[in-house]
Amino acid sequence: MGCGLCEVYCLTQHSRSRDILKAYKRERPKPLSRVRREVAHPLSFALQCRHCAEAPCVDACLTGAMHIDEKTGAVIHDPDRCMGCWTCIMVCPTGALNMDLENRIVAKCDLCGLSGEPACVANCPNGALEYREDPPWKP
């Protein structure tokens, strides 16, 4: 239904305070949601990184910031190694990567640190999002 709660909880999850109000109103630099509502009524869905097994962003990354986590297979972005060249954005076929213009780096879904269900899934009021793993990841 495109309520946008996934964005709210994602942003809060990736804030320093983890408090909805503070995260939205006070924190600087502004925390960003890594999930994005895509709406064209009647269609609406939440778009976040698909964590591709053969991820174009990882192969294209100029710095090595974008990498595949060896244990989990998740596509993880290291903000300290990102120089904001936007090459990953050029090659992501779903458009799921976000520009953090304040810090001039990319911001993406990290599956909430893989500590159980991601915030967008856990807080979807409609059960529209589910978290499912593909066949076991082999490095």
Binding site: V39, F45, R50, L62, G64, C85, T87, M90, T94, G95
Partner: protein, 430 residues
């Protein structure tokens, strides 16, 4: 002469070789790999050199793969220079310090990269000359710059613009000189380049387009530059000139060994050269451009990674074909995000059947352009708003027929919601 036996040998140890090593090790954990690097340390990110020069990152900060990478992947890394190949005998000769090592291999990868292009300029042999494509270049420049106030950068392409930004950050006076009528002539049209140029000028760079340096002159101390003279006679008083024209494939070794070389080392879809068992990738190779339909050098980091990976899989016995690439760049210089891919600026755009759609918002500094031919996207430029670049690139890559596609107006951000359900599902469940 010391002899070393290996199964895989990489000549070069940058993007292409790193990707090949990773591909090989994903299927072959055991067979010995050796890599020869004429740069130390090996494995730094070349596109990050502007960050290093500007002093924002140190050498450790620009490492694409750290030193443990070679150990972890059981790669025998040799710092030296490969100077001779015998592709019949399957040996390479490498000079390391003052000795020579002979390496026997089964599979060879030529990942020798590119070498900077230097144009003929009168008097250039007599002054200190710099290029900006290697870590060594960056370090030499860093040492030189404290003695310098005004720098002339030759070449308004990716290297020249990145370099100019770093020089401005260091407080240097910069004159950027480009032969063609506008900056980045190979990948941007006049309008996009104009917006970027305005920003570059506002950052304090003097931009001279449509001109070239014909002569450099030293008045005082021998070797000390006094001015660079343009083709219209204008003299730019500067103490340093830096060549940033681009790179051409470094094919010397391959040519001498008798490999087929055109503009770069000739390869097939598996990155194998004219000699079985010998592969080439990245800046050294001549690659298939799926938009132009021809083979040409595509000296870009991501393409070196893709072709290196393809080469690696094939070297290890897993057949993989490279689907071709095209000119593709993402830019962040001077705070202007730009993505430009393929034939974004066709020469005969009003003839030859191109359907060119543009959108310009001068206040927000947004410019977007999509070039379609026969229903297929053949190129695009996004400036200011680039978030949907990957979706457009995917449609281009997959040769998707965009006739009648809602959202194909460049004014709109293209999202998955505009795509047919089948395509959207394939992407989301990939």
């Amino acid at each position: 002469m010391e002899t070393l036996k290996t199964h895989y040998l990489m000549i070069g140890a940058s993007a292409g070789a790193i990707s090949a090593v990773e591909a090989i090790r994903s299927i072959d954990e055991r067979s010995p790999i050796a890599a020869v690097s004429d740069e130390e340390p090996a494995g730094y990110s070349r596109p990050m050199l502007p960050e290093l020069l500007a002093g924002e990152l140190d050498v450790k900060g620009i490492m694409f793969r750290d030193q443990a990478f070679w150990r972890r992947n059981k790669v025998h890394l040799i710092y030296g220079k490969a100077f001779e190949l015998d592709v019949e005998e399957r040996t390479a000769k490498v000079s390391e310090n003052h000795s020579t090592i002979k390496i026997e291999y089964e599979k060879l990868l030529i990942a020798t990269g590119g070498k900077p292009i230097t144009p003929p300029i009168e008097g250039l042999e007599d002054v200190q000359r710099y290029t900006f494509t290697t870590l060594r270049d960056a370090e030499r420049l860093s040492n030189r710059l404290p003695e310098v106030n005004h720098v002339a950068v030759i070449g308004g392409g990716l290297i020249g613009i990145g370099l100019s930004e770093s020089l401005r950050k260091l407080g240097k006076k910069v004159t950027l000189i480009e032969l063609k009528p506008h900056l980045l002539p190979q990948i941007l049209d006049e309008k996009a380049a104009g917006i970027l140029e305005e920003r570059i000028k506002r950052a304090g760079v003097e931009v001279k387009t449509g001109h070239t340096v014909v002569r450099v002159h030293s008045e005082k101390d021998p070797g000390e530059l006094s001015y660079a003279e343009l083709d219209d006679g204008e003299r730019i008083r500067c103490q340093q000139i830096i060549m940033a024209i681009g790179v051409s494939p470094n094919v010397e070794l391959a040519s001498k060994a008798g490999l087929e070389v055109n503009r770069g080392v000739t390869v097939d879809e598996r990155m194998e050269t004219s000699i079985p068992g010998v592969y080439a990738c990245g800046d050294a190779a001549e690659l298939y451009d799926f938009i132009h339909g021809t083979r040409r050098p595509l000296p870009l980091w991501p393409i070196a990674r893709w072709t290196g990976k393809t080469a690696g899989y094939n070297m290890a016995g897993l057949p993989r074909e490279f689907q071709g690439a095209t000119s593709m760049s993402a830019l962040k210089y001077f705070g202007v995000p730009i993505v430009t891919v393929g034939l974004a600026n066709p020469v005969n755009q009003n003839h030859d059947g191109y359907d060119v759609k543009t959108y310009l918002d001068p206040t927000r500094k947004v410019y977007r352009k999509i070039v379609v031919k026969d229903g297929r996207i053949v190129g695009f430029t996004l400036l200011g708003e680039i978030g949907d670049a990957g979706v457009i690139y995917h449609l281009m890559r997959s040769r998707f027929n965009v006739r009648g596609l809602r959202g194909m107006a460049p004014a709109l951000n293209l999202s998955l919601t505009h795509l047919p359900k089948r395509v959207r599902r394939d992407l989301l469940w990939r």
